[in-house]
């Protein structure tokens, strides 16, 4: 039993954290995250040069990491900086390309930006309700339908689209320049896109790919949950800091037990979240991955809302101003729940498991 990071991962964590602290301060982040293209293309270049994406893929596929712990180290650092770069799409696309045995140098170097399109307007989380369908075969496959809320899609060059083929979920490559892509910014910073497919040309990457897609989603969940832990930790630190400084009634408000105990409860839920991220990361490539991913995503959804709402409340009015970075942390923490399945969705997954038992 050992809960320390390996030297390699500690170096990765240090270099990423330093880079993000230097280049991606809160002020800069807020400036780039809400204006098209909803990220910083120059810093995307520097981030990828640092090897952030190589850390997400195993050696056999050209990377130098790819385990759950590599993913959680990278995304916790990204979370601490509220980084809006489209790294999640790269991670999930890498899992799909890896499963297909496809080449992914352009992805890992950051030269080509990928996004993964799963959600649909009426079924944002449900792999069982895919409506986009494939027609034709071989060189002449086309897709029709609409994909929604594709995070990072506003700048993606290649979409990996989940669509039905012969009634089963399959994964297709769609080039952005051959499809109708409607990009937009998000309330919590960063961007996404709708992908409108109307007999749009596509190349089959993986047929009958339910299990592979689930595994890519699981990797995405570990990433998001680790990001949430990074975000929540900073929001909590900011709150405790504020409790130490803000004076009312002649004392710092941190002297009030009504606030102290709530700040402790935030810490408790963050530590519980951190623990389940570790567990889900450890199980990511094992038989119980989906169960632990459902658990951790349900937990960070709950914990996240507690932390975000309490952080705002304890900051008082300043917590709901655009000017103060906490507000942006709170938004990101809260809306992260709506990516790859919210708390209720994943509770449902767990409950389905009880029925089988």
């Amino acid at each position: 039993m050992d809960f320390s990071l390996t030297d390699d991962r500690r170096m990765l964590q240090d270099s990423l954290t330093r880079f993000l602290a230097d280049k991606y301060g809160a002020e800069h982040r807020v400036k780039v995250a809400y204006e098209a293209p909803f990220h910083d293309p120059a810093l995307w270049g520097e981030l990828t040069e640092l090897g952030a994406l190589y850390a997400l893929a195993p050696e056999a596929q050209g990377g130098f990491g790819g385990t759950g712990f590599d993913i959680s180290v990278v995304f916790e650092a990204l979370g601490r900086a509220m980084c809006p770069e489209p790294v999640l799409g790269a991670l999930m696309a890498s899992r799909l390309l890896g499963a297909a045995g496809a080449e992914q140098d352009a992805l890992l170097s950051g030269a080509t930006k990928y996004a993964v399109a799963i959600a649909e307007p009426d079924a944002p989380y449900d792999l069982g309700s895919i409506g986009v369908t494939a027609k034709g075969d071989g060189e002449a496959i086309t897709l029709s339908g609409r994909k929604t809320a594709i995070y990072g899609g506003q700048v993606a060059e290649i979409f990996l689209v989940v669509a039905l083929m012969n009634g089963k979920p399959a994964v297709f490559e769609v080039r952005a320049d051959q499809a109708q892509v409607v990009g937009y910014g998000l309330m919590d910073g960063g961007g996404a896109a709708e992908l409108l497919l109307d007999d749009t040309p596509a190349a089959l990457l993986l047929a009958d790919a339910g299990a592979v897609i689930e595994s890519a989603v699981n990797a995405g969940i570990v990433a998001l949950a680790a990001e949430a832990v990074g975000l929540m930790s900073v929001a909590h630190e900011m709150t405790v800091d504020y409790l130490r400084q803000r004076k009312q009634f002649g004392v710092t408000i941190g002297k009030f037990q009504a606030l102290q105990h709530r700040a402790v409860d935030m810490l408790t839920e963050i530590e519980q979240s951190r623990s389940l991220v570790i567990k889900a990361a450890a199980e990511l490539d094992g038989p119980e991955a989906s169960r632990f991913c459902a658990m951790v995503k349900a937990l960070v959804g709950r914990a996240g809302r507690l932390v975000a709402e309490e952080a705002i409340q304890m900051h008082g009015g300043i917590g709901v101003t655009w000017e103060y970075p906490l507000a942006h942390y709170a938004k990101r923490i809260t809306l992260l729940d709506a990516q790859l399945g919210d708390t209720d969705h994943h509770l449902g997954t767990l409950i389905d498991g009880y029925k089988a038992a």
Binding site: M1, F3, L267, F292, Y354
Partner: protein, 395 residues
């Protein structure tokens, strides 16, 4: 990052599991599974079996007759005991007083008391809380006045767990009322047979008798029963607190309780289907299962830290809070799964050989009510939050 046990730890786990399977008598594990009160005879039998194997004093170093185990080995042992439905040992002598005597006791105190804790000759209880000193323990008033070669003790202790079975009591007493509260407290060992001591039972919410009031009227205690220096008792109390904090998360018991809730929810029916398929009830189970899975890792993280640093840190308060809340929630779910089947007073239905609910469930309501105590004792969960405020948040 490595979440699983090392090869040596796994071998140790196997050894413990095999020993329990071979040694733990079924009449004891059955009693634990039923969940009622355990008799002193059962506890004595179990302590003797552990002592014969050399596994009773799991927090003691080898030179005092303990196991010398690492925090992880101790955790494995506790996990396996729980899995086998072995009783928790009575902690007062072994886990609480023992480590205090190792560190603060005189040679004579160690030589006399340590072997008697191990062989069960002396059963201990703890004299800390008083009617006016609960969370604010340092305000305790039980007075000990030095007169020649002994102290004269007057006052009252309360919430004295298993005091009705104890031969001796270790007490915090006030030896100097003039100084700051923490600086006038001493740690005394008192023979319960001394004239002037009266033990009165306190009946608990579910009707059980596990705690007592202990009254002291002009009780003469030999001065050599002072542990450490006079007026330095608070240091000992704080030291003891860190030892009280092993296995504070109660992961094993909660895992057992979760399995029991699931089993009950598969047996009981609502709206024509098993209760476990009722989405409202199932969601409640899922929420607590998530917290429990998280706490397993939180517990291991803190064990790992304790192993690195030598002692558990203040963040173990997180385990006390979460551990008790999770366990209480599970006891609540078990009671609710049974509905009115949990309501009969255990032992009251004596005619007709009627069974209420599935086997081993008759104590469910009692256990639910009794376990409200867990978030109150050992430093209430509010006190734990105060500790975390000071140590982790530095507010």
């Amino acid at each position: 990052m490595e979440l699983s046990y090392s090869a040596e730890e796994k071998a140790f786990q196997r050894e413990v599991r095999d020993w329990l399977a071979y040694t733990l008598p079924s009449h004891i594990s059955d009693a634990v599974r039923r969940g009622g009160e355990l008799t002193k005879a059962i506890m004595e039998e179990w302590h003797a079996l552990l002592h014969a194997k050399g596994w009773l004093a799991t927090t003691w170093p080898v030179e005092f007759g303990g196991t010398g185990w690492t925090p992880v080995e101790r955790h494995i042992f506790e996990e396996e005991c729980c899995r086998a439905y072995a009783p928790r040992i009575v902690p007062f002598g072994t886990n609480m007083l023992g480590p205090v005597l190792h560190k603060f006791g005189s040679k004579e105190q160690q030589d006399y008391h340590l072997p008697r804790i191990l062989n069960g000759e002396i059963w201990w209880c703890q004299g800390y809380s008083e009617p006016g000193a609960g969370s604010d323990l340092a305000s305790l008033k039980t007075r000990a006045v030095r007169e020649g070669d002994h102290y004269v003790v007057n006052g009252q202790k309360t919430w004295t767990t298993l005091g009705q079975h104890a031969d001796w009591i270790f007490c915090l007493v006030r030896t100097d009322p003039e100084v700051k509260a923490q600086e006038g407290i001493s740690f005394l060992l008192i023979d319960m047979k001394t004239p002037g001591i009266e033990v009165r039972p306190i009946k608990l919410i579910e009707g059980g008798h596990e705690v007592n009031e202990v009254f002291f009227t002009d009780v003469k205690v030999p001065a050599e029963n002072l542990v450490g220096q006079e007026n330095k008792g608070w240091t000992i109390a704080k030291y003891l607190l860190t030892h009280e904090r092993t296995n504070i998360a109660n992961v094993g018991f909660s895992m057992q309780a979760l399995e029991e809730v699931k089993a009950l929810a598969r047996t009981m029916k609502r709206r024509g289907r098993p209760l476990i398929e009722d989405p409202l009830f199932a969601a409640r189970i899922a929420e607590v299962e998530i917290q429990l899975e998280a706490m397993k890792i939180t517990n291991l993280r803190m064990l790992f830290q304790a192993q690195q640093q030598g002692a558990p840190g203040p963040e173990t308060s997180i385990l006390k809070i979460k551990g008790t809340v999770i366990f209480q929630e599970l006891k609540d779910l078990a009671r609710r799964a049974l509905g009115p089947m949990a309501a009969p007073f255990p032992g009251h239905v004596t005619e007709g050989n009627l069974m209420f609910g599935p086997p081993d469930t008759e104590h469910n309501a009692a256990r639910y009510f009794n376990n409200r105590k867990t978030s109150i004792y050992g430093g209430s969960n509010e006190i734990q939050r105060n500790i975390l405020t000071k140590t982790m948040l530095e507010l």
